[in-house]
């Protein structure tokens, strides 16, 4: 008897052998005590396993949406609003990138009129006129910041001169002011401070109609997306 016989006996026990093999095995079992003993052993093993109590599940294994990471199905209109939000946001951002050239083009005459637009006007008499004005109350910070970036071309040689001249009229902390003045833009900073308050102010970076439109569309679409998502989640959890 070899292992092949054991395999056949095991399959025969389960009725998984062909009729011809079954007939042959049955005749051998009657004549071969060793084979009959092996068959008996296999049968006992199977019988014992079948006696094992069948345990019931200790609890229900049903799944919740959270367990399987299911999300509520999104409404059909959702992708439309998502695309609209994306597009409007992109256009809104692009419109801001283009804005400086437009705005500064419109605002260009103002610095020129103040004499801070370039190096040449700064050395002209208007620069002298500034000094009397410096005795007046200092200008607010808003025009300062607005004009600072436009004055990168200002000559650095003027910085110490103007700073020193203006020292007595500096507001509260003259030493700090001087240390800041060490930067190239400081000269213009001072001239800007000395600017007369009567200059008409323009709104910084005014929003164009297109920007308002794109921004509005982006906000509205995002709000609609949020609402649709919440609605779908509520509907889904309630079912």
């Amino acid at each position: 008897m070899n292992f092949r016989d054991i395999e056949l006996l095991s399959a025969y026990l389960d009725g998984q052998t062909s009729p011809s093999i079954s007939t042959r095995l049955e005749s051998r079992l009657k004549t071969d005590p060793e084979l009959a003993s092996a068959y008996q052993a296999l049968r006992e093993s199977r019988g014992l396993l079948r006696q094992l109590p069948h345990r019931r599940a200790p609890r229900n294994f049903t799944l919740t949406p959270k367990m399987v990471g299911l999300k509520p199905p999104l409404p059909r209109a959702y992708p439309v609003f998502r695309f609209a939000t994306f597009l409007a946001t992109i256009l809104f951002v692009i419109s801001f990138i283009k804005l400086p050239s437009i705005t500064f083009g419109a605002a260009a005459p103002a610095p020129a009129a103040y004499g801070v637009g370039g190096g040449a006007p700064a050395t002209q008499p208007p620069a002298v006129e500034i000094f009397p004005a410096a005795t007046q109350p200092p200008a607010t910070e808003a025009p300062l910041n607005q004009m600072a970036p436009t004055t990168t071309g200002a000559p650095a040689t003027e910085a110490p001169l103007n700073a020193a001249d203006l020292q007595p009229t500096a507001t509260s902390q003259p030493t700090e002011e001087l240390t800041r003045v060490a930067q190239p833009t400081a000269a213009v900073d001072m001239t800007a401070k000395a600017a007369p308050p009567s200059v008409p102010e323009t709104a910084p970076f005014p929003l164009s109609n297109w920007q308002i439109t794109f921004g509005g569309i982006a906000l509205l679409s995002a709000a609609t997306m949020f609402g649709l998502r919440r609605l779908a989640a509520n509907k889904w959890s309630g079912k």
Binding site: E7, Y39, R56, P58, T62, L63
Partner: protein, 203 residues
């Protein structure tokens, strides 16, 4: 229960349909895990993991025995658990003798609902068989549990463990022989059970 319709609905993402299938199969899935792992808590965890995996993978089900497909999932979950145990071995629940050997049927595991004698017989039989099942190689254990305990036919077992029919026959024969040898050691513990089957004559 209209199983094909429920499977189709579950494949479309209907969790309620899949939960109906779970309720139908959870006992067999749990019992299979219990016999492979030999521990109720681990079996419970493996069954839950198996159902979660099954729901996520149900779109890959391409017909055939759904029970075998589910049992393949639970068998894989059990293999994962056994691998994890190998990496991080835990202290066995069974108390040890003075020599450091595990006691197979500790009295403190007894179920008080039966009489002490019945309890003793039932527990010893179950513990002895489970002990012998645990000594089998994992792939043999899965085959013998599905074929002899859960009553699956050879083709279902082959589908569940993804092995050829010949391999299933071979594993089953070897597993039964090994179990017989192992159970011989408990002959004095399980005389009634053994005699009951030994008296059956070969047809």
């Amino acid at each position: 229960m209209n199983e094909p319709a429920l499977i189709l609905d579950a494949q479309r993402g209907d969790l309620n349909a899949f939960n109906t299938l779970i309720l139908h199969y959870q006992d067999i899935v749990f019992n299979t895990a219990l016999r492979i792992l030999g521990d109720e808590d681990q079996a419970s965890d493996a069954a839950q993991e198996a159902f979660i995996s099954a729901f996520r993978a149900i779109k890959s089900y391409r017909g055939g025995s759904f029970k075998a497909w589910l049992l393949r999932t639970v068998t894989n979950a059990c293999y994962d658990e056994l691998r994890r145990q190998k990496r991080r071995p835990t202290t066995p629940l069974e108390p040890e003798t003075e020599d450091g050997d595990e006691m197979d049927s500790p009295r403190w595991l007894a179920d008080p609902s039966l009489s002490p004698e019945q309890q003793n017989d039932a527990d010893e039989l179950e513990h002895a068989i489970q002990h012998c099942l645990n000594t089998l190689p994992t792939e043999f254990r899965a085959v013998v549990v599905m074929a002899d305990i859960e009553g699956l036919d050879y083709t279902e077992v082959a589908a569940a463990v993804r092995a050829p029919l010949g391999t299933i026959k071979s594993r089953l024969a070897r597993a039964r022989l090994r179990l017989r040898e192992c159970l011989q050691e408990f002959a004095e513990l399980l005389p009634a059970a053994f005699r009951l089957n030994s008296d059956e004559a070969i047809a």
